[in-house]
């Protein structure tokens, strides 16, 4: 049994750049997923399930949609007098001067006050680009049992550079004598076999200590300056997560992870009855199927009205699909209206898109068409 009390810090804008389209107006943490969720729901629900009652969300920019989603934290029972959810706005502290923080370490300088104020023994730092349903007490137990300074959450991963030509921040490593070694970022060849999932656990006191020392040393990147270079000679180990986890490093990753939810086994491993993924409730009526509706292998959220055909697709809340319309291999986000006889294949429509009657839009499996929020096509 784990003894320590944990607090959580979520970096809501981690990897924003890899989903350029979807994060044009929102942070990674509030990217919609699987019909009714936002990516942060997975991390947040997991933390709450693990008994974490103090969660800080570090914001950077474009956080309006995230704030709207989180509110006071009620869906996760985080609207509390003690602890609860706190949103940490970008205070503009930078080691190198003014402006919004650029790296996680700079963000941590800015929230040092919250870290000092907390009574938790440990801090779980987590990026928001993960789809998983993890019990963080596993991580804590492992960390405590190994007496480590930092335990990184990782999984086995077959990194292929060609799939991520623009992403230089995917951190891989080997394990030697129980310790993390050979850290590399998006290497072109011979990639190490462990992927750092952007989640780690560290004692709160050590974290404050590191943040202080890093500030004096003018260090800026947690991954590169602390973990990779390890200037403070920390005992950094890894906990290999064997459960379902889907890190999102590209639009294709995002598309594929959504589509995997059409496999009931995978879906039910992620959405477990006794470990619910919680999200903001929108009070939609049940989904309604019309007389000529035809739905095959799809996920349909509440409030959807289906009068046409849907195949191999994810349909979010409140989507309307007109008579004779055909939607295939697509992700149709909240509030989108698809006109009569329109045909869509390999399309991602962001929220509140309108597709006129009879329109034809087809992307490719390797390159889905993206239609931005609120567009009329």
């Amino acid at each position: 049994m784990a003894n320590g009390k944990m607090m959580g810090i979520i970096f809501s804008s981690s990897h924003d750049e890899v989903l350029r389209e979807l994060t044009e107006k929102r942070a990674m943490a509030s990217v919609p997923f699987a019909g009714r969720y936002r990516l942060i729901d997975f991390t947040l629900s997991g933390m709450v399930q693990a008994g974490i009652s103090e969660v800080g969300v570090i914001t950077k920019e474009k956080y309006h949609s995230l704030m709207d989603h989180l509110g006071a934290g009620r869906p996760w029972d985080l609207d509390r007098k003690r602890d609860g959810l706190f949103i940490l706005p970008p205070l503009g502290y930078r080691a190198s001067g003014e402006g919004v923080y650029q790296t996680n370490l700079e963000a941590l300088y800015a929230i040092e006050g919250s870290l000092l104020h907390s009574k938790a023994d440990y801090v779980v730092l987590a990026d928001a680009n993960l789809v998983y349903n993890m019990d963080y007490t596993e991580l804590l137990e492992y960390h405590e049992s190994k007496n480590a300074d930092i335990t990184l959450l990782s999984c086995k991963y077959n990194f292929v550079k060609e799939k991520y030509p623009d992403n230089e921040n995917i951190m891989l490593f080997n394990q030697r004598a129980g310790r993390v070694s050979d850290i590399m970022f998006s290497p072109s060849d011979n990639p190490p076999s462990n992927l750092y999932l952007g989640v780690l656990i560290i004692s709160r006191k050590l974290l404050i200590n590191i943040v202080d020392r890093a500030k004096s040393a003018n260090l800026t990147s947690f991954k590169r300056d602390i973990l990779q270079r390890n200037p403070f000679d920390l005992n950094i180990i890894t906990y290999n997560y064997k459960g379902l986890v889907r890190p999102i490093y590209s639009l294709k990753d995002y598309f594929d992870a959504n589509m995997e939810m059409l496999n009931p086994k995978i879906k039910n491993e992620l959405f477990q009855k006794d470990r619910q993924i919680l999200t903001k409730v929108r009070d939609e009526a049940p989904a309604k199927y019309g007389l000529e509706a035809k739905v095959i292998n799809s996920l349909i959220a509440d409030g959807a009205v289906i009068e046409g055909e849907v195949e191999d697709s994810i349909i979010f809340r409140g989507v309307k699909i007109g008579k004779g319309a055909k939607v295939k291999n697509s992700i149709i986000m909240q509030g989108t209206v698809i006109g009569k006889e329109a045909e869509l294949g390999y399309v991602i429509t962001d929220k509140d898109v309108e597709i006129s009657d009879g329109r034809l839009m087809v992307g490719y499996e390797s390159f889905p068409v993206y239609i931005s929020k609120g567009s009329k096509v």
Binding site: G35, R36, D283, A287, K288, Y289, D302
Partner: protein
């Protein structure tokens, strides 16, 4: 300190709903699931908050556990407010004796103190067994404009139906001069919807007087309304022309659910300006597999459909296995319809397992004798062995297990 409220709502939720038989065995009628993700009480509660009434007393008595849990702090309906909000009001012990609620009027009488705290000008009395969307603020305006002492919402019904209702006979201005409870020969077709607005000082007086009358059955329809009429109080009929349905019987509950699938029925649950709120079970979107066939139905979160669903309402977390057929039916939360089972014209209550190749209910077209036809009901938490048969009109008790039929 309690802030003064113009209008406080009192929701009568203590009735047993005995005509729903097994469905209300362990459950108060207002807590009966409805429409895929609601319970009946969501309709009056949502109407209250949408009408600007944020102080609601819910009078409970019969099997209140599920209902109390469900209402909780009122958060789903935005009724978790410090100045008002939703309050569960069960009968309680007083310094001189203790009484159950002896009638609808007595239930309000026993909570005069609750109402007085808000010093309201008006009290809205509602019941927890009707499905409708109504803006009570318009009815209140009508009440005020007419300087009425009591306003009763009425609905035009057909002459044939009229003898099932309390009928208001009103003049051309809408002033009620006569009230008849379930008349054999109705004089008008204005049926009471069981929605009353009273000026609180008047109602308060009549409640106290009625309480002192040993012969009174302490009921709004039988005592308070006739007494006020006899005394010449100004009673107005407020005409309502939307959808309204009493879901007090198996048939009407089934019909009201089916009405949701009928595009010609004017009850729109998809209106973002007048949402019906409910407590959310927090499940992922529903999944429709390859080979499934879903039409003319309402399906909600957490369902997995591998079989055929037609003209049906499926609540959260229902699984319909491959080859199973659900037609013209209502399947409540958490049920599993196993492969090859056939569910037609039925209500399957919460958390049932309908075994492989079971046959539940039947289409009226397939009956030799139509008199034997009716909606079949499987009580909650039943687990039926494969090949079980539940006949039309049959009411299976909750927690039935093993082979049936």
């Amino acid at each position: 300190m309690f802030r003064k409220k113009e209008c406080v709502a009192m929701l009568l939720a203590g009735g047993q709903g005995s005509r729903l038989y097994t469905l209300t065995k362990d459950l108060a009628k207002p807590a009966v699931p409805f429409g895929g993700k609601y319970r009946i009480i969501d309709f009056p509660l949502s109407n209250c908050i949408n009408s600007g009434i944020n102080t609601v007393g819910v009078l409970t008595q019969y099997q209140p556990l599920v209902l109390n849990d469900y209402i909780g702090n009122g958060e789903p309906w935005d009724l978790d407010v410090s100045s008002g909000g939703v309050h569960i009001l069960p009968p309680y012990q007083k310094s001189k004796g203790a009484d159950w609620y002896k009638g609808t009027a007595n239930a309000i009488y026993q909570n005069i103190n609750f109402i007085d705290r808000y010093d309201p000008d008006y009290v809205l009395v509602l019941s927890g067994d009707h499905i409708y969307k109504m803006d009570y603020s318009k009815m209140l305006d009508f009440h005020k404009k007419n300087g009425a002492d009591c306003t009763i919402a009425v609905l035009e019904v057909s002459k044939e139906e009229a003898s099932r209702f309390g009928i208001m006979n009103a003049d051309e201005n809408g002033q009620i001069f006569e009230f008849e409870e379930k008349p054999k020969v109705p004089k008008s077709n204005l049926a009471s919807m069981g929605i009353y607005i009273f000026s609180w000082d008047k109602l308060r007086r009549y409640l106290i007087e009625d309480e002192e009358d040993p012969k009174s059955s302490k009921d709004f329809g039988k005592n308070i309304i006739p007494n006020m009429l006899d005394a010449g109080e100004k009673m107005m009929a407020y005409p309502f022309d939307g959808y309204w349905k009493d879901v007090g019987t198996i048939d009407s509950l089934w019909e009201a659910n089916m009405d949701l699938l009928n595009p010609n029925v004017p009850l729109n649950l998809y209106d973002s300006e007048w949402k019906i709120y409910a407590r959310n079970p927090g499940l992922p979107p529903h999944f429709v597999a390859k080979g499934a066939d879903v039409q003319n139905s309402m399906i909600t979160e957490g369902c997995e459909i591998w079989g055929t669903v037609d003209f049906s309402v499926l609540f959260s977390g229902v699984t319909v296995e491959k080859g199973a057929v659900v037609k013209d039916s209502i399947v409540m939360p958490g049920c599993v319809i196993k492969a090859g089972a056939r569910v037609e014209y039925s209500i399957v209550a919460e958390n049932c397992v309908i075994g492989e190749d079971c046959v539940i209910g039947r289409r009226p077209e397939d009956m030799e004798n139509l008199d034997e036809w009716g909606v079949a009901v499987v009580g909650s938490d039943s687990v039926l062995d494969p090949g079980s048969v539940v006949k039309p009109k049959q009411l299976l008790d909750s927690k039935t297990t093993g082979k049936v039929g």
